[in-house]
C-alpha cells in the first residue's frame, strides 16, 4: 500500500470533515435565522391552481381577488403561461364564492386544476406529526445501528445523518422554497439513503478492523473509503440520474421533492466519506490513547 497516497486521502478526509462541520453550523444557523416557508399542508389556508388565457397578467388577477376578499392573496405563476397558483392565508367560511365567479370579468375560459382547503388545526397537527415521524425514524435507526454496530461507528453515521438533514433543511430555509408534506417525505427518505452510504463504509471498517487488527485506524478508514469508493460513485450516480429525471419530467408537484432528494443524495455521499468516517476515528483514538493526534479537531 502506497503510504503517500494513503495519507493524501486521509488528509482529504480530514479537510472535508472540517468543511462538513462548517456546513453543519451554517445550516443550523440559517434554519434558525430564516425559518421555513411552510406550505399549506402545515399552515392551513386555501390554495387554488387555475388555468386561464395566457395573456392575463398577475396584477389583473390580484385586483379582482382583492375586491372579493379582505385578506392578502398571493398570485404566483405556476411555471406555464396562463397557469396561476392563488394562495389565501386563511380559511374563510363566509367568502366561499367560487373562484370562477370572482374571475368571471376577466375570462370565462377558466379551468380549476386543483384546489385545497386545509383547516388551521389540521396544519398544526400535521406539523406535529411530521416532527414526530422524524424523531421516531431517528430513534428507530439509532436503535438498529447500536444493535448492529458498536457505538463509535454508529455515531459517525448518525452525525452524517444529522449533517445531511440539516443541509437540506437549510437549503429550503435559505431559498424560502415552500416546505410541504412531500418535502418532508423527501427529508425522511434522505434519512434512509444517507445512512446507506455510511453503513456500507462502516461495514468495511468493521471488516478491516477484524481482519487486520494491527492496522492504524486512519489507514483502516481510508482503506475502507477507497474500497467502497467506486460502489459509492455508481450508486449515487444512478440515483442522482433517476432523481434528475424526476426533476426534469416530474412537473411542478414533484419539483421540490426532487430538489430535496437530489441535494440529500449529493450531501449524503459527501458526508459519509467525511465526518462519517472521521468521528469514529476521533472517538477511537481518544478512547485507546493513541499518540497520533488527528488533525480533525472537532469541538
Amino acid at each position: 500500500m502506497n503510504f503517500k497516497k494513503l495519507s493524501k486521502l486521509t488528509r482529504a478526509r480530514y479537510l472535508s470533515s472540517l468543511m462538513s462541520l462548517m456546513i453543519m453550523f451554517c445550516s443550523v444557523g440559517i434554519i434558525f435565522v430564516n425559518g421555513f416557508n411552510w406550505g399549506l399542508d402545515f399552515t392551513g389556508g386555501v390554495v387554488t391552481e387555475v388555468k386561464l388565457d395566457s395573456n392575463i397578467k398577475a396584477a389583473q388577477i390580484s385586483e379582482l381577488l382583492a375586491l372579493h376578499s379582505d385578506q392578502d392573496v398571493s398570485v404566483i405563476s405556476a411555471g406555464e403561461a396562463g397557469r396561476w397558483v392563488l394562495r389565501y392565508s386563511q380559511v374563510n367560511a363566509e367568502s366561499s364564492t367560487s373562484i370562477t365567479d370572482v374571475l368571471a370579468p376577466l375570462t370565462h375560459n377558466l379551468e380549476v386544476l386543483n384546489s385545497s382547503i386545509v383547516g388551521p388545526q389540521i396544519g398544526q397537527e400535521l406539523a406535529e406529526q411530521g416532527g414526530l415521524a422524524l424523531l421516531v425514524a431517528m430513534l428507530c435507526i439509532l436503535g438498529y445501528l447500536s444493535f448492529r454496530f458498536e457505538w463509535r461507528l454508529a455515531s459517525g453515521a448518525l452525525l452524517a445523518l444529522f449533517h445531511d438533514v440539516a443541509f437540506v433543511l437549510a437549503f429550503f430555509a435559505l431559498t424560502q422554497m415552500e416546505f410541504n408534506l412531500t418535502v418532508l417525505a423527501a427529508v425522511l427518505a434522505i434519512l434512509g439513503y444517507s445512512l446507506n452510504d455510511s453503513i456500507i463504509i462502516a461495514d468495511r471498517i468493521r471488516e478491516l478492523l477484524t481482519s487486520k487488527p494491527k492496522m492504524a485506524i486512519e489507514a483502516v478508514c481510508s482503506r475502507a473509503v477507497q474500497a467502497t469508493f467506486s460502489r459509492t460513485m455508481v450508486t449515487s450516480g444512478t440515483t442522482l440520474i433517476t432523481v434528475s429525471a424526476l426533476w426534469i419530467m416530474g412537473g411542478g408537484p414533484l419539483e421540490s421533492f426532487s430538489i430535496a432528494m437530489f441535494l440529500g443524495i449529493l450531501i449524503g455521499t459527501f458526508s459519509s466519506i467525511s465526518i462519517g468516517t472521521c468521528l469514529p476515528e476521533l472517538l477511537k483514538v481518544n478512547s485507546e490513547h493513541y499518540k497520533v493526534e488527528p488533525i480533525c479537531d472537532a469541538p
Binding site: 383547516g119 415521524a133 435507526i141 434519512l191 434512509g192 456500507i200 467502497t228 455508481v234 419530467m249 414533484l254
Partner: protein, 604 residues
C-alpha cells in the same frame, strides 16, 4: 434452462429455484399487465334505472351532443357506457339522468381497458390515488366534546333529582369548566349517600374527594375513549350511507386518527354538491313551548327571527329517530314523516297525551365552523305545531319549506342521530386534466430514469451490467404486479416518485455484489469462485443498508397519510423486490451464464 451437471455444488441453483423464479415473474407480469392498458371513466346504469332508449339510440344521442363514447356494454339489464375522454364523466351523468326514470341508479365507475381473458383471470389494474385520477377529498372532524357534555348534563340532572328526592338540603351540584362535576356537600352522611348513589347508578364514573366538603365526579378515561369510538363508528356508518346516495362505486370512507373521517370521491369535479350531502350536520329536537318570558325557558328563534320560548330540556332528541321521509300531506303541503324508536315513541306518546291542545316546537340545529375554527351551532325553530292528538312512534312535521327542502331535511335526519357535530376541516379538489398530467409526468420521469440507468449499467459493468439490467426490469415487473395485487394499495404521485427512486437504488444491490466480485478477481480468484465469494460477502452489507431505509418507509407509512403513504408503500415494496431480484434472480442468472467460467483474466 434445467441444470444437468451435478458434479459440483459451486454456483448451482437447483431446478425448483428456477421454476419458482419463473412462476413468480410470470404471475407478476400478468398482474402488472392490466395497469398498462389503463382504465376509462364510465357510467353504469343499474337494472332498475328504467332506461328509456335502447343502446343504439343512446349512442347516437350522446355522439350528437359531443360525448365521445368508446363502447356501450349491456349485460343482465345493466348498461355500462365507457368514455373516450375521462373528463366527460360528470357531463355524461347529467345527460343520462334525463334518459332514465330513476337517476339514483346511475353510478360513476371505472372500466378496465384490458382484454377480457386477462380480467377473467382475476387480475385488475393498480388503483390510482386521487392526485392521479382527479376527484374530491374531504377530511371530517368529529367533535366529541358536545357528546361528553351531554353525558355530564345527564349526570348533573340525575344528581339534582336525587338531592331533591332525598331532601339533602345544602348539597349543590355544578359543572366545572374543566369538565368535572363538583358536588359541594358539608354533611358527611349526605356525602356518603351521594357517593353511594353515583357509584351505583354510574359505574363508569369516578368519584373523588375534593377537600373536606365536596366531591368530584368525572368520566373514566376508558369510558371517554369508548364513547369516542362509538361516536366515530356511528358517523362512519352515516357517511357511508350518505355517500352511497351520491352513486360513486369507488368512494372511500375511512377513519383517520382518533376522531377524523377521510372521504375520497374519485371522479367528482364539483365539491359543492358532495359537500352539501356530507358537510351538513343536522339534529332535530322536539321542545315543549313555554309562556313568553318564562324563567325556566330558553329562547330559540324561528325563521322570521322571532323568539320562541321553549323548555330547557327537549322532550326528545334526534337520536331516537329511525327513519324520516318527505311526502306531501293531506293539505298538499310538504311534510316530513318521522318514525321513532320504541323509547322515543313512548316518550312522545306520554308527552303528547299530557299536552293535547298545547304547542310543540321542532328545532333544527346545524353545526358549522366559523373562520376562527370554532364550532358554531345554529338552531332554528322550523315549526310550532299544536298537538292535536296523542302521537305514536310515527308522526309528521310540517314547515320545512318546499318539497325539495323537506326531502333534504328527511335525508339528513334519516342518516340517524347526529349528536356529535361533524365539520369539514380539509378539502382538496384535483381536476381530471391535472390528474392525467401527473400520470404522464410521473411515468415519463420513470421511463427516462429507467433508460438512463439501464444504459449506464450496461456500459459500466458490460456483461454483468446486462444481468443487473434484467434484474432491474424484473424488479419493476414485480413491483407493479405487487401493487396491483395487494388489496388497498394505491398508487399516488409521490408513489411514482418512490418508484423512480427505487430504480436508482435497486441497482445498488447488484453494484455491491459486482464490486466484491471485482475485488475477488483482483485477489487472483477464478471468475466462478469470485462470483461465489462476492455474493456471499455482500449479503450482510446489503441487508444492513436496506434495513434503515425500510425503517423510514415503515415510519412514513404509519404516520403519514394519503399521498405520503403511497410514497412509503412504493419505497418499502421497492426495497423488498430489489432485494429479491438483486440477490436471488441475478444470482440465478449469473449461475446459469457464468457459473462454470473458471478463467482468471475476466474483466468486469
Amino acid at each position: 434452462m434445467r441444470e444437468n451437471k451435478k458434479t459440483t455444488i459451486l454456483n448451482h441453483y437447483s431446478a425448483w429455484k428456477y421454476v419458482l423464479l419463473l412462476v413468480t415473474i410470470i404471475i407478476m407480469l400478468f398482474s402488472a399487465l392490466p395497469t398498462f392498458y389503463g382504465e376509462d371513466a364510465a357510467v353504469q346504469i343499474g337494472a332498475k334505472a328504467g332506461l328509456k332508449v335502447d343502446s343504439l339510440a343512446l349512442h347516437h344521442l350522446l355522439e350528437s351532443q359531443g360525448v365521445n363514447v368508446k363502447r356501450i356494454d349491456q349485460a343482465k339489464g345493466e348498461t355500462l357506457i365507457v368514455l373516450d375522454d375521462n373528463s366527460q364523466q360528470a357531463q355524461l351523468k347529467t345527460m343520462l339522468s334525463e334518459q332514465v326514470a330513476d337517476p339514483s341508479e346511475l353510478t360513476l365507475t371505472l372500466a378496465p381497458d384490458a382484454p377480457n381473458w386477462l380480467l377473467s383471470l382475476g387480475f385488475s389494474p393498480i388503483k390510482l390515488g386521487l392526485d392521479l385520477r382527479g376527484g374530491v377529498q374531504f377530511l371530517l372532524d368529529v367533535e366529541i366534546e358536545p357528546v361528553y357534555k351531554l353525558h355530564y348534563d345527564a349526570l348533573v340532572e340525575s344528581v339534582r333529582q336525587f338531592i331533591r328526592e332525598q331532601s339533602l338540603y345544602g348539597a349543590k351540584v355544578q359543572q366545572r369548566s374543566s369538565g368535572k362535576v363538583n358536588i359541594s356537600v358539608s354533611d358527611p352522611n349526605q356525602r356518603q349517600a351521594l357517593r353511594q348513589f353515583v357509584k351505583q347508578q354510574y359505574p363508569n364514573w369516578r368519584v373523588t374527594n375534593a377537600g373536606d366538603s365536596a366531591l368530584n365526579v368525572d368520566l373514566l378515561a376508558s369510558e371517554k375513549i369508548n364513547i369516542r369510538d362509538l361516536i366515530v363508528k356511528q358517523n362512519l356508518q352515516i357517511m357511508r350511507s350518505r355517500i352511497e346516495q351520491l352513486g360513486i362505486t369507488e368512494a372511500v370512507v375511512q377513519r383517520q386518527g382518533e376522531h377524523r373521517i377521510r372521504i375520497e370521491l374519485p371522479g367528482v369535479q364539483d365539491p359543492a354538491a358532495a359537500k352539501s350531502v356530507i358537510g351538513a350536520t343536522a339534529s332535530l329536537a322536539f321542545y315543549q313551548v313555554m309562556q313568553p318570558g318564562s324563567v325556566n325557558a330558553k329562547v330559540l328563534i324561528d325563521e322570521l327571527k322571532a323568539p320562541v320560548y321553549v323548555a330547557r330540556k327537549p322532550v326528545l332528541g334526534g337520536e331516537h329517530i329511525i327513519d324520516a321521509r318527505a311526502s306531501l300531506g293531506e293539505m298538499g303541503l310538504p311534510e316530513v314523516v318521522i318514525h321513532l324508536d320504541r323509547d322515543g315513541g313512548k316518550i312522545m306518546s306520554n308527552f303528547s297525551r299530557d299536552n293535547i291542545g298545547k304547542p310543540m316546537a321542532t328545532s333544527y340545529s346545524e353545526y358549522s365552523r366559523d373562520n376562527k375554527g370554532q364550532i358554531r351551532q345554529t338552531t332554528e325553530v322550523i315549526s310550532v305545531a299544536t298537538v292535536q292528538s296523542q302521537l305514536s312512534d310515527r308522526f309528521s312535521i310540517t314547515g320545512a319549506g318546499d318539497y325539495a327542502s323537506a326531502q333534504q331535511l328527511a335525508l339528513l335526519l334519516r342518516a340517524g342521530s347526529m349528536t356529535a357535530p361533524v365539520t369539514i376541516v380539509e378539502e382538496r379538489t384535483i381536476g381530471p386534466s391535472l390528474g392525467e398530467e401527473n400520470i404522464t409526468n410521473g411515468f415519463s420521469a420513470l421511463a427516462l430514469g429507467m433508460a438512463f440507468t439501464l444504459l449506464f449499467m450496461g456500459l459500466w459493468y458490460r456483461r454483468l451490467g446486462w444481468i443487473a439490467n434484467i434484474a432491474l426490469v424484473a424488479n419493476m415487473v414485480l413491483l407493479f404486479g405487487l401493487l396491483a395485487l395487494i388489496p388497498g394499495a394505491v398508487l399516488t404521485l409521490p408513489g411514482i416518485a418512490g418508484l423512480v427512486l427505487t430504480v436508482g437504488m435497486a441497482v445498488d444491490t447488484n453494484v455491491l455484489i459486482f464490486e466484491r466480485i471485482k475485488d475477488k478477481l483482483k485477489e487472483g480468484k477464478s471468475f466462478a469462485h469470485a462470483i461465489d465469494r462476492g455474493f456471499d460477502s455482500a449479503l450482510s452489507t446489503i441487508i444492513d443498508a436496506n434495513f434503515t431505509t425500510m425503517i423510514t418507509a415503515i415510519v412514513l407509512y404509519s404516520i403519514g397519510n394519503g399521498p405520503i403513504q403511497g410514497f412509503a408503500l412504493t419505497l418499502g415494496l421497492g426495497l423488498l423486490t430489489s432485494m429479491f431480484t438483486g440477490i436471488f434472480a441475478s444470482r440465478a442468472l449469473v449461475n446459469w451464464v457464468y457459473g462454470r467460467d473458471f478463467s482468471r483474466d475476466v474483466k468486469v
